[in-house]
């Protein structure tokens, strides 16, 4: 039975803050996420090497070395709470026993540190969405889905607290839309295909994860909105389109919570800011500390209402001070320390507003993350329950908000961006509000070799 959200979780924007949420998540060892303090979430990945059965012992050694370095740094800097994300490489989900073995080794090291030094840490286990290995993707059966079920269930049994995924339903259609800044196809991917897949996927994942004693945490529209953000960062597509894709990812993201996900949402899911406003679940986010993985125009504002503060991912390479994962850990700890001191001094809102103000006027992707804008868009989201209509309404509202911000000179925008703002307003008006009519049109227009309509019940 899915939950319906018809109003925001917050009555006042003044309560919409970092480190604190309406429904904190309690982990097995007592760590509570979103209960007043923000703390780090660290992720790391292997240096250039093949991921095969032959290299598995070496990979385990490196993962162990990275993790021990991270935990020692946490101990040295008196950080008591930490989330460690193990986001598998595709091979470690495709051959789940490899991923399970690495996870178990990491879990043991973390328990050992908790016993010896009192450093409480939990693993967020993020297997890959392997279903797109088939082209067109097979979403609901087959060897890749079976491999995903195996790694989700076993790592939950082995002690992972938080289970997440960056799911890809609809991405097979969205990729082309991102490159072409094609709003119509983006609406089809994000408003029609993705929510249908999210409902099926998260209904199943919640059951698998909960029956094995772990917490179904959340998803990310990484393959959609972060793809757009990175393309915009490189000057390939308009930033205004990337901002629009971000807000259009909200209905898709909401489906996970509607079907039982509890949070914290994934770090790269900036759309989860709106989810926090609607559902009150905790969220992880990444900003300037994720520059080791990707650049962004939202380095500070991303932290404004975060409950975990992440680095996205960093390679195990040696820097002047030490290995990069340890460097990332130190940066995250100091950021969190400052934010928590602000809270202890009753200055959370002031700190939040500084984080917001330092970014929001310089880029439309930052502007849409302002808490007041988040509330406005979140309120529009819950006016209807249809993911498709939500996507359309959000798109229209986002374009209107950005246009007004430009008109009021609150937001700077390049000339070539302004012409796209006009074009996108035109594109959105061409999309019918009748979902069945739109689906029929898109089935005619879209490349049927790229996706299987049956996999989405259309």
């Amino acid at each position: 039975m899915s939950i319906q959200f018809t109003k925001l979780a917050y009555d006042s924007i003044d309560d919409f803050l970092y480190g604190k949420c309406i429904h904190p998540v309690v982990c097995k060892n007592g760590i509570v996420i979103g209960n007043g303090e923000i703390f780090p979430e660290i992720n790391f990945t292997l240096p250039p090497m093949k991921a095969t059965s032959d290299t598995l012992p070496e990979a385990k050694r490196i993962y162990g070395e990275m993790l021990e370095g991270v935990l020692k740094k946490a101990r040295d800097l008196y950080a008591q709470n930490l989330v460690v994300e193990f986001e598998t490489l595709p091979q470690y989900t495709e051959f789940p026993e490899w991923g399970i073995e690495i996870h178990k080794m990491m879990r043991n090291i973390m328990w050992d540190f908790e016993t010896k030094y009192g450093i409480k840490s939990v693993i967020r286990m993020t297997p890959n969405d392997m279903r797109e290995m088939n082209r067109p993707p097979i979403m609901r059966s087959g060897k890749y889905w079976d491999a995903m079920v195996r790694i989700f269930s076993q790592t939950a049994r082995d002690g992972a607290d938080l289970l997440s995924i960056e799911s890809t339903g609809g991405k097979e259609i969205s990729d082309e839309a991102m490159i072409n800044a094609d709003l119509r196809t983006a609406v089809f991917a994000l408003g029609v295909l993705a929510p249908r897949d999210m409902k099926w996927l998260w209904t199943n994942l919640v059951e698998i994860i909960e029956e094995n004693g772990a917490i179904p945490a959340g998803d990310s529209a990484c393959g959609f909105a972060n793809t757009a953000m990175v393309l915009a960062e490189q000057g390939f597509i308009p930033k205004v389109f990337a901002a629009l894709v971000r807000t259009m990812s909200i209905p898709r993201a909401l489906v996970a919570i509607e079907n039982g996900a509890k949070g914290p949402g994934k770090d790269c899911a900036y759309e989860n800011v709106y989810l926090k406003a609607i559902t009150g679940t905790p969220i992880s986010l990444e900003g300037k500390t994720a520059a080791c993985a990707h650049f962004s125009p939202i380095g500070n504002i991303a932290a404004a209402v975060a409950d975990l503060w992440s680095n996205e991912s960093v390679q195990h390479i040696k820097l002047l001070s030490g290995f990069a994962p340890v460097v990332s850990t130190e940066q995250l700890i100091y950021d969190c320390r400052l934010m928590n001191v602000a809270t202890k001094n009753g200055q959370t809102k002031t700190m939040r507003d500084w984080l917001v103000e330092s970014d929001c006027y310089l880029d439309c992707q930052a502007y849409i993350l302002r808490p007041d804008v988040v509330f406005e868009i979140a309120k529009e989201t819950v006016k209807t329950q249809s993911p498709f209509l939500r996507t359309l309404k959000i798109a229209r509202l986002t374009l209107s908000i950005l246009q007004q911000a430009v008109d009021k000179k609150e937001l700077s925008m390049e000339e070539r961006e302004l012409s796209w703002l006009d074009m996108l307003c035109f594109q959105i008006d061409e999309i019918p509000e009748d979902e069945e009519e739109f689906i029929a049109e898109m089935k005619e227009e879209s490349d049927i070799t790229k996706y299987k309509p049956d996999e989405y019940d259309i």
Binding site: P48, Q91, E132, I179, N180, A181, G235, I237, R416
Partner: protein, 213 residues
């Protein structure tokens, strides 16, 4: 008489339908296909490239221009082949290496190469070395583009290059590599001929490797 400046404008603005109509009209008026390409169509694409480099337009506009260009080329191709000439300025096989599912960067490079007049054979994602060798052999390509986004899949690029050597094809094809974790030093280390960190510089690099700059 067709105003051929309008063909230039149609391609520049990515107006595919107009470009097709004007190309057909010009051919009916016995215009020289090679002149249409060299004096109007390629010039339009050069201007599109300049605007993109100068941050005046985005990739979608560039791709629209490329599609208009390709549509016109498709009309001219049979005529040129009848005259014993070709329209492709090079043949590129492109793919993402084994174990890697990422393809948006690869697709972007493929689209931009097509827009600039290359014939592109995109063999997809998660491709093993045998598939790359087979495609090079089948299509007689002169460029191979390899893409990887993971630190654990980029070493496979070297496996592909070794396979080309074993198949006796290495001297026939220039290899260009790209993807987030890939660098010039890595490209040099594995014996690739070129590296590019962005899609638009990939086009420049390919032209450079083929000596058509």
């Amino acid at each position: 008489m067709t105003d051929l400046n309008l063909l230039y404008e149609a391609i520049l603005k990515g107006k595919k339908k107009t470009a097709i109509e004007l190309t057909n009209a010009a051919l009916e008026e016995k215009a020289d296909p090679k002149s249409l390409i060299d004096n109007h169509m390629i010039k339009a694409m050069e201007e599109v490239g300049r605007q993109f480099e100068n941050h005046e337009i985005f990739v979608p506009e560039l791709l629209m221009a490329g599609r208009a260009m390709k549509a016109s080329l498709n009309i001219l191709q049979p005529v040129l082949q009848g005259q014993g000439a070709g329209v492709s300025i090079g043949k590129v096989v492109i793919g993402t290496v084994k174990g890697d599912l990422h393809d948006i960067g690869k697709n972007l490079v493929a689209s931009m190469l097509e827009g600039c007049g290359f014939e592109v054979i995109d063999i997809g994602i998660d491709m093993d070395s045998a598939k790359f060798v087979e495609a090079i052999r089948e299509h007689k390509a002169n460029i191979l583009g390899l893409s990887a986004l993971l630190t654990t899949t980029m070493p496979y690029m070297k496996t592909v290059i070794e396979a080309l050597k074993e198949a006796g094809l290495r001297d026939q094809v220039k290899v260009i590599v790209g993807g987030a974790p890939v660098s010039q030093s890595f490209a040099t280390e594995i014996g690739a001929d070129g590296y590019s960190d962005t899609a638009n510089s990939a086009v420049t690099k390919v032209k450079d490797l083929l000596g058509i700059l």
